[in-house]
């Protein structure tokens, strides 16, 4: 498959009469953009707010992030979400780089939502602090989940995807500033030199642990809870086949933006033909019961073995009981003689003394550790809040609390906050972006 992504490097975003792009400036006609958002009658109130790196701004509750994209060969940028099911990963697409659409609750947050600071100490905790963020701040009529800790956030997430595709369409007829080519031939059709290199698969375990539909990551619009591990082309992941979910503690989460820009896939592409033969992606999932975990790991082992993999990189979107899925997969891959490196984050507690993963096995001898979910973070007030700051302590966000004997509430009267890394928006980036590491003290 061959995918060419034409990149437009956005340095500035502003509102204007006509939606357009010129010399790094993206201009958005707000009314037109909001019309796309309001196509769903469940959106009761919506606004778009712009913010850039360095702004004295805090954004919370953030539910999803998407890179604006548009597919030039027809078909939706996010199959199963913004349109019907059509295969992606080949042909041409355009992307607005250096920016993202954020789905932000106007009032209400949920367990999996996160926080982004655009400057100061807090900015180092999320890669989204470095992007020009186009914040869709909205409320909905989804009364059934208004006061639930776990929310599907369906209307807002889908609206943000529509908005991202609309923004992508602005540049559909223009010449990109640069372009990236992702091409990987079918496994048996590669030349001898490539075939002779060590073969590597990338095993992804997206979050899929809620049995009720509507919370989990999606593959072509399909709930990953209902799938068995399958083989995918990495281009499909980069091109909108995978959609972020609305359940996991936020720092462990993979947003759609993270899938679209998956750094480990890009690194594997860079090595392909030089040091390795990149076979492709095994899209697995994370499960609830032991039997499901074992079955999925067995499938991963079987697919990897029969593709002829010599080595694997595996990553999980989660912690806690999903560590059992992660470790079981590593154990079975190693058992099949496949040398495996795992990417994960840890939960060592605020005192750093807890067992780092819920399940451990000596076969997991090569782990890249991307962060500690329980890091306690204290941050000063920011001048402007996009969304509603109270949500951090009021709505059950995984890293916030209403009260604590020693620490007080997460949100203080002066607007300063104390929280766990758990709610830093996609902060541990176990898809490979994380500049963090957990070390011994």
């Amino acid at each position: 498959m061959r995918l060419e992504i034409g990149n437009f490097h956005v340095h500035n975003v502003e509102f204007g009469k006509t939606s357009s792009y010129k010399d790094g400036t993206l201009t958005i006609n707000k009314e037109e953009a909001l019309a796309v958002v309001l196509e769903d009658e469940h959106i009761t109130d919506a606004d778009i707010v712009l913010t850039k790196p360095g702004d004295d701004v805090r954004i919370v509750p953030v539910k999803e992030a998407i890179e604006p994209r548009f597919r030039l060969n027809g078909g939706p940028a996010f199959p199963g979400v913004t349109g019907k099911i059509e295969r992606v990963g080949s042909g041409k697409a355009v992307a607005l780089k250096n920016c993202s659409v954020l789905a932000v609750g106007k009032h209400w947050g949920s367990f999996g939502d996160g926080l982004i600071d655009m400057s100061g100490e807090g900015a180092k905790y999320s890669i989204f602090s470095k992007l020009n963020n186009i914040c869709l701040v909205a409320d909905t009529d989804e009364e059934f989940e208004r006061h639930q800790i776990q929310k599907k956030n369906h209307a807002l997430r889908w609206a943000a995807h529509r908005l991202a595709e609309y923004l992508g369409s602005i540049v559909k007829d223009m010449t990109p500033d640069s372009s990236e080519l992702f091409e990987l031939e079918p496994i048996t059709k590669r030349d001898e030199k490539v075939q002779g290199l060590p073969s590597v698969v990338f095993v992804m375990q997206p979050q899929s642990q809620i049995e009720e539909s509507g919370f989990n990551d999606l593959v072509y619009g399909w709930d990953t809870n209902t799938m068995l591990p399958t083989y995918m082309h990495p281009n499909e992941v980069l091109d909108g086949a995978m959609i972020g979910g609305s359940y996991m503690c936020c720092s462990s989460k993979w947003s759609t933006y993270d899938f679209q820009n998956c750094p480990t896939i890009k690194s594997l592409y860079n090595e392909h033909g030089k040091t390795i033969n990149f076979l492709g992606v095994i899209m697995s999932n994370l499960n609830v019961s032991l039997e499901q975990k074992e079955r999925a790991a067995m499938f991963v082992q079987q697919i990897a073995s029969n593709l002829g993999a010599d080595a694997a990189i595996i990553t999980e979107e989660g912690y806690g009981n999903s560590d059992a899925d992660f470790i079981e997969c590593i154990r079975l891959l190693e058992e099949a003689g496949i040398k495996t490196v795992g990417l994960t984050n840890e939960c060592t507690g605020r005192d750093g003394l807890s067992q780092p993963l819920a399940a451990l096995d000596i076969s997991a001898d090569a782990i890249v550790s991307c962060g500690n979910v329980s890091t306690l973070i204290e941050l000063p007030p920011m001048g402007t809040v996009i969304g509603e700051l109270e949500s951090l302590m009021r709505d059950g966000l995984s890293g916030g609390w209403a009260g604590d004997e020693k620490l007080g509430p997460s949100v203080r009267e002066d607007g300063s906050i104390i929280m766990e890394n758990n709610s830093m928006f996609c902060g541990d980036s176990t898809l490979g972006q994380s500049p963090k590491m957990v070390i011994e003290f």
């Binding site: 609830v288 019961s289 032991l290 975990k293 009981n321 560590d323 399940a359």
Partner: protein
């Protein structure tokens, strides 16, 4: 938690679905349950079936408490 209880000399059996996790935290007597959200009764089955399953597995847990063991043991259900 289970380790502290056992350290205090109180015999304890852990009923858990994720046996690998129970084993990793150092549980000595373990009885598997059927899932995380519904450890002892699948809501898709009848009330009577749920009761039978629960009664049976709690019985296994009680038997585990009255069994001497030499090492970490998962009791078959």
């Amino acid at each position: 938690m289970v380790k502290e209880i056992e350290k205090a000399g109180i015999t304890v059996v852990q009923m858990a679905n994720l046996i690998p996790i129970a084993r990793t935290v150092g549980s000595n007597r373990m009885v598997p349950t059927i899932s995380i959200p519904y450890p002892l009764g699948d809501p898709k089955t009848s009330k009577e079936e749920q009761w039978k399953l629960r009664y049976h597995r709690v019985g296994v847990a009680l038997d585990a408490l009255s069994t001497d063991i030499e090492e970490q043991t998962v009791f078959e259900v």
